[in-house]
């Protein structure tokens, strides 16, 4: 992939206006009730894309409480590419789920693009995931019976975009990750590296503010893994995409701007950027 293919993919990577996305994506759950948090905590001065404060997540089952996250406090600037590293059981996955609005913290605050999201309703969180966040999973998770094109269209289906427009967008995105010749292929006809590239195209379908990747190279050989990381790097450098990569692969983490280490549910480093 050279610069010319990137230029062709430009519409796909175009950054939408944040305020427009906010207007579409967020709806106040109970407009009549004043919200407590914005009054006690002033909005952050720096336009952090991610800012978390003292996030605690406790899972309860059968009277046994497990603390998955004890204190996760860190922040990510727009256009940053960070790695979250930590041993297994450290709370990485829980932090990912909360950052991706797939889960809510037990307590603490999370501002996504300047907006507190911890007390949004389920439907509002769906909308945030749909328009603000792009997910890339270790095991790809594509619809097995759908073509690459249909898989990339899926987030746009839930955004209510017309079939013609989303097909066009999906075509452009797949071309931009070098799969312009694989549009009609089903997942079982694609290699691991190709599957992850379809997943990246899918993550970009609704022009998200943030890419969340959970061990994106974990199921790939070294060469395919490098190709995937090159795509992430290129998206970050050329399009200014904010990216959070969870990994325990030092080689992957080394390609990121900064590493946030998490251990026993606490973020150990990386929070110093907040003091910049």
């Amino acid at each position: 992939m050279g610069p010319e293919s990137t230029a062709a993919g430009a519409p796909g990577f175009a950054r939408g206006s944040t305020s427009a996305v906010l207007a579409r994506g967020y709806k106040s759950r109970a407009s009549g009730e004043p919200k407590a948090r914005p009054l006690t905590t002033p909005p952050p001065a720096i336009p952090w894309i991610i800012r978390t404060e003292k996030i605690l997540r406790v899972f309860r089952s059968h009277d046994v409480a497990t603390v998955a996250l004890a204190d996760a406090t860190f922040a990510v600037k727009p256009g940053e590419m960070i790695a979250i590293m930590g041993p297994s059981g450290s709370g990485k996955s829980t932090l990912m789920a909360i950052l991706g609005c797939l889960d809510r913290p037990t307590s603490g605050s999370y501002w996504l693009a300047g907006r507190e999201v911890t007390d949004l309703s389920d439907d509002e969180l769906s909308s945030v995931r749909n328009r603000m966040v792009g997910f890339v999973f270790q095991s790809f998770i594509l619809l097995q019976r759908s073509s690459a094109l249909e898989n990339v269209e899926l987030p746009q289906v839930y955004a209510g975009i017309t079939p013609r427009a989303r097909r066009e967008k999906a075509r452009t995105l797949l071309a931009s990750v070098g799969l312009g010749h694989r549009l009609g292929h089903k997942p079982n006809e694609l290699s691991g590296g190709e599957l992850q590239r379809v997943a990246i195209a899918r993550a970009l379908a609704n022009d998200p503010k943030l890419l969340l990747a959970d061990e994106p190279t974990g199921n790939l050989d070294w060469r395919s893994g490098k190709e995937i990381m090159d795509i992430f790097r290129r998206l970050n450098l050329e399009r200014g995409m904010t990216e959070v990569v969870v990994t325990h692969n030092a080689e992957v983490a080394a390609q990121c701007d900064r590493i946030v280490v998490i251990q026993d549910g606490r973020t150990l480093s990386g929070s110093e950027t907040m003091d910049e």
Partner: protein
């Protein structure tokens, strides 16, 4: 997805297909039976009344209660009705039983019916050749007979039967007429009959009581009045005892319709149970599908699907499953009707259109009803937990 496991989807649908097939075909069968009965009665004429000895609450072949104080219906009773009631256009006394008919070594067991000269006009049953016996034949107990077409064909073949003698239960009778073909009426073959004067039949069967008296009113409107006056007349002749049963054609039709309707609804109800069982099959398969596709549900939610999007997806799936099953059931019923018409041309088989609408609507409703529970379960999955499921 429906296509992912074709065998499983097909078997699930089969439950609905069989249910819909059963409901439509049984309701249609009931309607066909109703129409068949109505046609049969219409052929006989709606102004007929049948008088039987003994008091019966309903029509049926139940035995006569208290034989001792029940007067027999006699030739004289029939004669009195004919002479004294102006609203009556014809009276046919009937004695009948099965008897052996013989002609030159060919023998056959046949219905032997003894009746009066007005029988052809009362039952609207004419002759193709020859004539029926006249009042004089009945009066003088002449041994003459009119035979049904089947008897004629069996005994005589191509030979002209008029003037020939046949042995009816050992007694020779001269054939004077051949009846028109009438076919089968309520299981009774009207062409396999030998008609003889009622007076001769009385001697042959050694009885002086009539089996029944068939009476035709001059019009439909006269029927209720005629029933009352016949009852009054016979009562006065039977020492004041009301010991007869009069059944009018309309009453019989109504009774038969009630029976047919009751049977139809019982059978359709049983068939509807099979539809419900089919619905449970759908619920089962949808639940299996939800647990197999937990990860897909998690993915869809991660990509922005709301709970109601997931709910709709699974609900649509179960409704599509049940409705397609319902439509296949309708097609199968249509095929069965074509086959039934081909195999039993005499039965007026029709598909009842409201039964089709009902069954298809019902199967779609079953899809919704039994799809809601699995679909809700799917829609309530937490996206994080669903994504972690292997």
């Amino acid at each position: 997805m429906l296509g992912a496991n074709k065998l499983r989807t097909g078997l699930t649908m089969l439950g609905i297909i069989i249910g819909v097939f059963a409901v439509i075909s049984l309701i249609s069968l009931g309607a066909s039976a109703r129409r068949y009965v109505a046609d049969q009665f219409a052929a006989m004429g709606s102004n007929l009344m049948i008088i039987m000895p003994g008091k019966r609450e309903t029509i049926g072949s139940g035995s006569v209660v208290g034989v001792s104080n029940v007067h027999k219906l006699t030739m004289e009773d029939a004669e009195a009705i004919r002479r004294r009631l102006p609203s009556i256009s014809g009276v046919a006394p009937v004695i009948f039983g099965i008897g052996l008919i013989k002609l030159e070594g060919i023998s056959r067991n046949t219905w032997v019916t003894g009746t009066g000269h007005e029988y052809p006009s009362v039952r609207d049953h004419g002759l193709t050749t020859g004539q029926f016996f006249d009042p004089d034949d009945v009066e003088r107990e002449r041994r003459v007979a009119a035979i049904g077409t089947k008897v004629r064909a069996e005994l005589f073949g191509e030979v002209n039967p008029l003037g020939k003698f046949i042995l009816v239960m050992g007694t020779p009778f001269r054939v004077i007429g051949v009846m028109e073909p009438r076919g089968t009426s309520l299981g009774f073959d009207l062409d396999d009959v030998v008609f003889i004067p009622v007076s001769a039949a009385r001697r042959l069967f050694n009885t002086d009581g009539l089996y029944q008296i068939i009476v035709r009113a001059s019009s439909d409107e006269e029927v209720p009045g005629a029933v009352a006056s016949i009852r009054k007349l016979i009562q006065s002749r039977h020492n004041g005892e009301d010991d007869i049963t009069i059944v009018s054609q309309n009453q019989m039709l109504a009774t038969l319709n009630t029976i047919v309707d009751a049977l139809t609804f019982i059978l359709a109800g049983i068939a509807a149970i099979s539809l419900v069982v089919g619905g449970i099959g759908i619920m089962n398969i949808m639940l299996a599908s939800v647990s197999e596709r937990t990860r897909e549900i998690g993915l869809r939610k991660a990509l922005g699907a709301r709970s109601r999007d997931i709910l709709r997806q699974f609900l649509v799936e179960s409704v599509v499953l049940s409705t397609i099953g319902g439509l296949i059931g309708v097609l199968m019923t249509a095929a069965a009707v074509v086959a039934a018409r081909w195999i039993f041309p005499s039965l007026p088989v029709v598909i009842t259109s409201w039964a089709v609408v009902l069954a298809v609507t019902f199967s779609a409703a079953i899809g919704i009803f039994f799809g809601v529970f699995p679909a809700r379960r799917a829609s309530r999955l937490s996206p994080m937990d669903a994504l972690r499921t292997e």
